[in-house]
Symmetry: C2
Subunit: 341 residues, 2 copies
DNA sequence: CTGAAAGCGCTAACAC
DNA sequence: GTGTTAGCGCTTTCAG
């Protein structure tokens, strides 16, 4: 049996690591038990100096490295976390991941990234990876499946959400309702009575909150409401350009646009310039994130501490592992006034 | 023994999946052998209809999910690949990952991301994860360690590089030397005799190639050379702003700047505008990547198919797994002429 | 301080 | 078609 398997691996896989011993071989060469060798590799106490040395030497000689998969199986965890997000090319998620990765490396936790493209199935694959113990937990930056679907995996491990969720999950979030209220109030004070919205999608906790704040504000101040003024699918610079073109075609135009992403606002502003539309004279623009590009183009933007969210989400994941699995953290926003409103 | 372990897990970890059976229990409940159950879960042939059904039902009843770590250990691979890159917040890498992730999901390969921050140690950790079999292979988008260090891990699994490397690794790359030559030639034709460089770093295959092209071109055309004109550490918009400020302080100023990133060029161009410096009159600017921001700001840029590189790198990884582990692919670039030169 | 041995849960060779 | 069983390589309990 040994033979067959060995030969098969040789044939199938040149990376069979044939020259890499396992802990048993190391132990044998060092003249100690497997237990002792294991202790040495894990820095456990109560091993004599000389045995430590013998084991280290044997390991060196055999070019030994732990097979981490065996460790994972034996320990029942993987020291890794899955990050679930829709798109990797949007600056928002890049920034977010950057913050998270900085924390994760400190804790020696590895990162498994699941780009869902907002496909339900892809997101469920990520959830499955929790159930199958590929990752110890999940951080869902943005989701597409209903919360009930997510909840079904709740018992399989910590799941951190990044939205204002009532209970059942640890989460880090922005009060988008409040932020939008403030933003709309600010625009109103500037004299805008008709305001349009550029938003990612109509679903999703964050989007729903934002739309709600929008509708509520309009009603409260008896401002104009027009379904045509809600532009969805707005993620990128190009989407902003598209919005600007649509705006131009509108018979009844809003005098201000509130976008949920700086990229979109950037597209709007630059396309406006090309079309000789005066910002903020003909159209005021305000966006979210306060990403460097907004400063660059001098776009008024609501600062969202994206990187910090990534960091916090990771910390919540860690706390969740320790049993504190219902913490919710709200992060603050503030408006950076610039020239586009 | 069973007892102790069980209780310990209950105490330590609420996510012990107590209600989740393993394949043995499923097999028992279904009244079949473990092998048969395994066959069912892996879609292997030669299992009778009824047994398939029995196994499926038992699995359902026990809320069974494969423990993927056991699979990994048993099979000797993990169906995952590690991506090594310095920074997750730079659009370049986001774009790159996006392309890669799209391919990976098709093949059911999961992504482990290693953000190194260009710290040698973090990069080595990634390499170790290959050796410890945490990932089946590595794609190094940009590295900081010497090639010899990487080579030492060559036998542990496929390692795909993204640079023009002589041999020993599969790789996908851009001929940066040629691209820069063309760019510099273009600037020269526009009458520029003194050209500055904004580059990531002085090391790294790609940077070295670019600097070499720079020096060679200057020499060839007897253009001015001034070490002060080489700005390093240029990655972001803010770095571009910094460069612009430094440029202004220069006694002897280059009349053109060639940047390796659109972000940097964007910073330069917008800061120039603030300082009432005419682009391209006082200073011509050209950059690399042709990221949407360059179109936005109408910056002349060398198009680099970043997303495609991500895709190709992944495909090379797959081919490498299949034994074709020395393929090198060159991707083409082309200049998008806009208003900054 | 040390070691024997029983797991962890799945795969697959081999025998029937 | 199906089942038995020996791995995969490490951790950890328990008994010295």
């Amino acid at each position: 049996m040994y033979e067959t398997r060995f030969i098969a691996r040789l044939l199938l896989n040149k990376y069979s690591g044939d020259d890499m011993g396992n802990i048993r071989e190391v132990a044998k060469l060092a003249g100690v038990s497997v237990t002792t060798a294991s202790r040495v590799f894990n820095g456990h106490p109560y091993v004599s100096e000389e045995k430590v040395k013998a084991v280290m030497e044997a390991a060196e000689k055999l070019n030994y490295t732990k097979n981490i998969n065996a460790v994972h199986l034996s320990k029942g965890r993987t020291n890794s976390v899955g990050i679930v997000l829709p798109f990797l090319h949007l600056p928002y998620y890049g920034e977010w991941l950057h913050g998270l990765a900085e924390e994760a490396i400190k804790e020696g936790i590895s990162l498994q990234v699941f780009q869902t493209n907002y496909q339900k199935k892809a997101e469920i694959d990520a959830l499955q990876s929790l159930k199958s113990r590929q990752v110890d937990g999940l951080i869902i930056v943005s989701r597409i499946n209903e919360i009930e679907v997510i909840s079904a995996f709740r018992e399989d491990g910590p799941i951190v959400l990044c939205e204002k969720i009532e209970q059942g999950f640890p989460s880090v979030y922005i009060d988008h309702y409040q932020a939008f209220q403030t933003a709309l109030e600010t625009l109103r004070e500037k004299g805008h009575q008709s305001i349009g919205l550029c938003i990612h999608r109509k679903t999703g906790t964050n989007s729903i909150e934002r739309i709600q704040a929008y509708r509520d504000s309009l009603k409260k101040f008896k401002m104009d409401l027009n379904e045509e003024w809600i532009f969805t699918g707005c993620y990128t610079i190009n989407d902003g350009i598209r919005v600007m073109n649509e705006w131009e075609k509108l018979k009844n135009r809003p005098t201000a646009l509130l976008a949920t992403s700086d990229q979109v606002a950037a597209g709007i502003v630059s396309e406006a310039k090309k079309a000789a539309i005066d910002i903020p004279g003909d159209l005021a623009v305000m966006s979210c994130d306060n990403h460097p590009i907004s400063e660059l183009l001098d776009i008024t933007s609501i600062h969202i501490p994206v990187k910090e969210m990534g960091r916090r989400a990771f910390k919540l994941f860690i706390r969740s592992l320790d049993g504190e699995d219902n913490v919710r953290e709200k992060l603050e926003t503030n408006i950076f006034m610039r020239s586009t409103i």
